[in-house]
Point group: C2
Chain length 337, copies 2
C-alpha cells in the first residue's frame, strides 16, 4: 500500500510505499575505471586549463603539484564568462546568451580517492573550496545563481572516474530553485516563519526520519522524497546562504557528508548518487529584490542516491513513486556503520 | 556555444547547443529479451489478473486468446480503485490515500512485436484502447487525472520486454501537468488565445523544427526541449481532451506515431524512449472549475528519447542541458526514411 504525500515546499505529490523494503532489492550498475588517461591527477596540471584557484601546500605554485583541491574551467563549458546577456525575443519565444560559469572542482590529487574515503581534513578543504568559489562568483552581477553538485557513478551521470564536483553559475534562477524560493516565501508570508526551520522542528519531534544530528546540523530523509534513500543535511542555524557558514560549521558539515556517504556505501555497495547544495540566489547587487530572503530561505544539502530508473511517468507527470518510505530508509541509514 | 531558451509554457530555461551534432555521438544501452517467462503473451491469459477490457476478434471470449490489445490491472499497483481519499494532516504535512488506477495496456499478443513494427491497423486499435480507458475512468469523480505513457527499453525504465503501455489515474493533478495547465491558462487570460495553437502557428511559420505534418497533426521538436530529439505530436484541431478525437484523427495519429518511432529507430537503432499523452484533467463532474479548459488547453503527445543520463544538475536545478538543438534534431528526423 502506498500513501500520497505532498511536499509542503513545492506542492509536489509523491506516492510512498508504507511497507518496509530491504535495500538489497535494488540493482546497482557498476562503475568502469579508467585511470591511465586521467589528466585530472596530480602531476598533469599542464594538460588541463589553467586553474582558477586551489588549496595547496604552502610554497607550491599554481598549476604544479602540491594541491589538495583544485578548481579548473570545465573542458566543454555550457556557460561562458565572456559576453553580455543578449536577451531577445524570436517570435513568441524568448532567448538569451549562455553567460555563466562551468567549473570542475577536483576533489583530490589521487585518482581512486572516493569522497567516502577522504579524511575529514580533505573534506573540509573541499567544502572550503565550494565556499570560496561561490563567494568569488557572487560578485558578478550578471550571474543569478551558483549551483554546486556532485555525481558519483555512471548511473548518476558521472563522466569522469576521477572524483570531482561541478560548479555551474547561471544568469537565471533555475526552475527547481525558483520553486523552492517561491514556496519558502509563500510560507513565510503566511506564517512569518522559515519553512525549513519548521520542517526541521517537526522532524525532530517525529524522530522517525532523523538519521543523525550534531551541534550544527540535522540529517533526515524528507517526508515527500523523490528518490529512495534521499536525505537532506540542514543547518540548525537559520542562514540563507551556504557561503556564510563558519569554520566550525564547515567541519561539522564535512563530518555529516562523510558519514552519509559512508552509510550509503555500507548499505548499497558503491551506489550511484548525486548531491547538490541549495543556497540563496546571488545577493549582490539585488539585495532589495530579495529583501525577505534572509528570513525565508535556508540553505541545505540534498543527497540523492540514484537507485531506480525514472520512466515516462515521472518525466510526463512530475509525480514520483517512491518504493521505500523515508521512515524505512532512515531506519537503515541510522543503524548502519 | 549554447543559447538559453525559455519554455513559453512552463517558464523553464534550457541551454541549447547551437552547433550541429551527429546522432552517432550517443551511446545506447542494449535491451535484454526474456520471452519464455512472459505471461503477457497470447495463450497465458489465465496467469494475469482478469482483463478490464480488450479489443478482440469477434466471437472470442474475455481472458482467452483472440485479443489484439488488452487492458489488465497492474501486478503491483501503486494506486488502488477501492477506498476513499482519506485526506489528512500530520503535523505540518498533508497526506491522502493512494486512490486511483494502474493498468497495463498490452500492445500486441506477440512477444517481440515492437510498436515501430506494428501495422497501422494494430496501432489504431492501441490508440482506440487508450481512448476507451480514459473515457471509462473519467466517470469516477475521485480521479482527477489519467495519464497514459509508454517506456521502451531498459534505459527508459521499461520493466517488461513485452511491449506495453501504462495507464495511471491519480486523485491529484500531477505537478508537471498542473504547470502546463496553469501556464496555458495564464497565456489565455493575457492573449485570449490557446498557447498550443500559437506555438503550432509559430512552428509552421519558422519551419525549421517541423518534422512532418498531415491533415490533422503537426509534428515538431519543441523550441525548449528537455531531451535531445524530443518531439511533440499536436492536433491541428483545438481540443482539450485526447479522448474526444474522431476515428479519422485516431488513424492519422497512429500514422504519425508509427512514423516517428520508425524515424527514431532509423537514426539510433533501438533507442530507449518514453512517450506520454498530455490531456485535460477529468472534466466530470468539475466542469465548472475548469470552465475555461475547453478554450485554453490543447492535448498533445510528447515523445522523449532517453539518449543521455540526467545528472545531479538537472535534478537539483530543474535546468536542462540539451546537447542537440531542436532544429538539428528536426533536420535528422525529417530527412530519415
Amino acid at each position: 500500500m502506498h500513501e500520497l504525500r505532498k511536499d509542503p515546499l513545492l506542492g509536489r505529490w509523491v506516492a510512498v510505499l508504507t511497507e518496509p523494503r530491504a535495500p538489497s532489492e535494488y540493482e546497482i550498475p557498476s562503475n568502469e575505471e579508467n585511470e591511465n588517461s586521467c589528466i585530472l591527477c596530480d602531476g598533469r596540471e599542464d594538460e588541463t586549463p589553467p586553474e582558477i584557484t586551489s588549496i595547496r601546500r604552502p610554497g607550491t605554485m599554481p598549476n604544479t603539484p602540491g594541491w589538495w583541491v583544485r578548481a579548473i574551467p570545465n573542458f566543454k563549458p555550457v556557460f561562458q564568462v565572456e559576453g553580455d546577456l543578449g536577451r531577445k525575443g524570436v517570435g513568441i519565444y524568448d532567448k538569451m546568451n549562455s553567460i555563466g560559469a562551468n567549473e570542475i572542482l577536483i576533489e583530490s590529487p589521487e585518482h581512486n580517492m572516493r569522497p567516502e574515503d577522504m579524511g575529514l581534513e580533505q573534506m573540509v578543504r573541499l567544502i572550503t573550496l565550494y565556499k570560496n568559489r561561490i563567494t568569488d562568483l557572487e560578485k558578478d552581477p550578471r550571474l543569478r545563481y551558483i549551483l554546486i553538485y556532485k555525481d558519483s557513478g555512471k548511473g548518476a551521470g558521472a563522466t569522469f572516474s576521477h572524483s570531482i564536483s561541478y560548479l555551474v553559475a547561471t544568469p537565471v534562477i533555475p526552475k527547481r530553485v525558483k520553486e523552492e524560493l517561491d514556496g519558502a516565501k509563500q510560507y513565510y508570508e503566511y506564517k512569518e516563519r522559515c519553512i525549513f526551520c519548521d520542517i526541521m522542528r517537526e522532524e525532530l519531534r517525529f524522530g522517525d526520519r532523523i538519521i543523525v544530528e550534531t551541534r550544527n546540523f540535522v540529517v533526515f530523509c524528507p517526508y515527500a522524497a523523490r528518490f529512495p534513500f534521499e536525505s537532506w543535511i540542514v543547518p540548525r542555524r537559520h542562514l540563507c546562504a551556504f557561503q556564510d557558514i563558519t569554520g566550525e560549521e564547515i567541519e561539522d558539515l564535512g563530518l555529516m557528508l562523510l558519514t552519509m556517504l559512508k552509510k550509503l556505501r555500507a548499505i548499497f555497495k558503491e551506489p550511484p548518487f548525486s548531491y547538490v547544495i541549495h543556497t540563496a540566489p546571488n545577493r549582490v547587487p539585488r539585495k532589495d529584490y530579495w529583501h525577505t530572503l534572509g528570513e525565508d530561505y535556508h540553505w541545505h544539502l540534498e543527497i540523492m542516491p540514484r537507485l531506480i530508473r525514472t520512466s515516462g511517468f515521472e518525466w510526463g507527470s512530475g509525480f514520483y513513486i517512491l518504493p521505500t518510505s523515508p521512515e524505512n530508509a532512515a531506519k537503515y541509514l541510522k543503524e548502519v556503520g
